[in-house]
């Protein structure tokens, strides 16, 4: 469908974004073609931003080819590891095949589809690398395995032991969370350590939650803003792994302990554990996003999601980006997308202020955020030359 707002921002590398090409090819009328061309013509800020980076410029040619493809194709493959920990396992369901009756296989299939749909329909992004990357998930990993992870290429889900956790495919936002790690790696990257790592984690929670909200067709005020609802087994005192709305309140249980997430900079946790607190301090940017989305109202994936998405794609988002720099990048993204001094601009500023990160757009261009101390000697991973 043609985008109703007409000024929807999209990937620079597309002469026309894929979804526009598709819809124009299918349903295009004269005015729609004109609007599409106009959109492409005025959207130059993002082009210059992205071409400012040589890395991006190097990547551009292959991307233009993919962007010119009129059809997006979602390619899902779900593998059954049958309790083993050696990959790939047995192919249980591939794109277009019907339900298998194995609930983990089918939940993974649907969750990948919902994530793909959010990226494609809302952000005009063709899969997690914007080049149609195949989506592979591996379920039934190990026995009683209490985790889900992204290994850089594929998603892996355990069945949970049943005493503390249920199967990890039960929560669609966790599926979106894992896939979003792939998107962050492609667009960022954000080093998986300290504040940059917490932003990386938060980005996954934000887009994971948006996958769920869009799947349920919920407006920001109706969403529960929980990450991993349904994952905690019966008897565990808690409702989810994290709460974006009220970080630190997701669980308080004799075995699990208490949710350690802060929702404000005054409670920022300095630790060497958890890669410098990446799953802990992510509560702060998580709450900023929640505050922004509820302030703006409507569907969170629309304005708030677009602002975050453009911030993620901004070349000023460095691999060691801290919260303050990220906040400024979101503020600039809001101004680019919706105009300076508008409600969105103000709402972004208010949201960060409420979590203890005062931010002004003016400071962005002059601010120098020193690299975090203690970042590992290894260089940030190279942008894939996809």
């Amino acid at each position: 469908m043609f985008h109703p707002r007409g000024h929807h921002r999209h990937s620079l590398h597309c002469i026309l974004p894929p979804y526009l090409l598709r819809s124009v090819a299918q349903n295009g009328t004269g005015p729609q073609r004109a609007a599409a061309l106009h959109t492409a013509a005025v959207d130059s800020t993002f082009r210059s931003l992205r071409f400012a980076s040589t890395q991006t410029a190097q990547r551009a040619p292959s991307r233009i080819i993919s962007g010119m493809m009129a059809e997006s194709q979602c390619h899902r493959s779900i593998y059954d590891l049958q309790g083993q920990e050696t990959f790939p396992g047995t192919l249980a369901r591939s794109e277009g095949q019907g339900a298998t009756g194995d609930v983990a296989v089918d939940e993974a299939y649907d969750g990948l589809g919902a994530t793909y749909d959010l990226l494609w329909e809302v952000y005009g992004r063709n899969s997690i690398d914007d080049s149609g990357m195949r989506l592979n998930a591996h379920v039934h990993y190990g026995t009683n395995y209490d985790n889900a992870f992204w290994d850089g290429q594929r998603m892996v889900f355990g069945d949970g032991g049943g005493d503390l956790f249920n199967r990890f495919t039960i929560a669609i936002d966790i599926i979106g969370h894992e896939l979003a790690h792939g998107m962050t790696e492609d667009e960022g990257p954000l080093v998986y350590f300290r504040q940059a790592g917490a932003l990386n984690e938060s980005m996954s929670d934000v887009f994971g939650s948006l996958v769920k909200q869009k799947f349920l067709n919920q407006t920001a005020d109706k969403a529960d803003w929980l990450i991993g609802a349904g994952l905690l087994a019966d008897g565990v005192q808690g409702k989810a792994l994290r709460s974006m709305k009220a970080p630190g309140t997701a669980y308080d249980d004799p075995v699990l302990g208490k949710d350690p997430q802060p929702g404000h900079m005054r409670d920022f946790v300095r630790t060497w554990e958890d890669n410098g607190g990446v799953h802990i301090n992510s509560g702060i940017p998580n709450r900023a996003f929640f505050l922004l989305a509820t302030q703006l109202g409507g569907y969170a994936w629309e304005k708030a999601g677009h602002i975050w998405y453009e911030a993620l794609r901004d070349t000023r988002l460095r691999p060691d980006c801290g919260f303050a720099r990220f906040a400024r990048v979101t503020l600039m993204a809001a101004a680019r997308l919706y105009g300076e001094g508008g409600a969105e601009d103000t709402a972004v500023r208010d949201a960060w202020n409420q979590v203890g990160i005062p931010v002004t757009r003016e400071k962005v261009s002059v601010a120098f955020i020193p690299p975090q101390q203690g970042v590992p000697a290894s260089k940030p991973s190279r942008r894939p030359n996809a």
Binding site: L241, G257, P260, E273
Partner: protein, 113 residues
Amino acid sequence: MRIELKREGGVAFIPGLNRPRLFNLADLPPAQAEAITRSVQAASFFERPARVGTASKGAADQTRYTLTIEEGGRRHSVQLLEPVEDASLRALLDLLKQVERTAARAPPNTVNR
């Protein structure tokens, strides 16, 4: 033989699961203790480097296990990043997780939590 199993990472930081688990083989049922001893030997644990497995580019939410074993005056730690590809180390880890689970259901003092 005393074994400490520490977990780090995963899709969430859960304080209660982050505490190290201590296994004293003398306190375990003989069959379990024997299986663990055999598995430690089969894995050549004391000859292993301090780290096994490296995170791929962009990987996230993986669990990192730190296994520390004390036996006869020697002490060695190995950090394992999942998925653990080495079969014998994986078998040892699986065994310890199994003991941990049975201990969680059994009365206290078999495993110090």
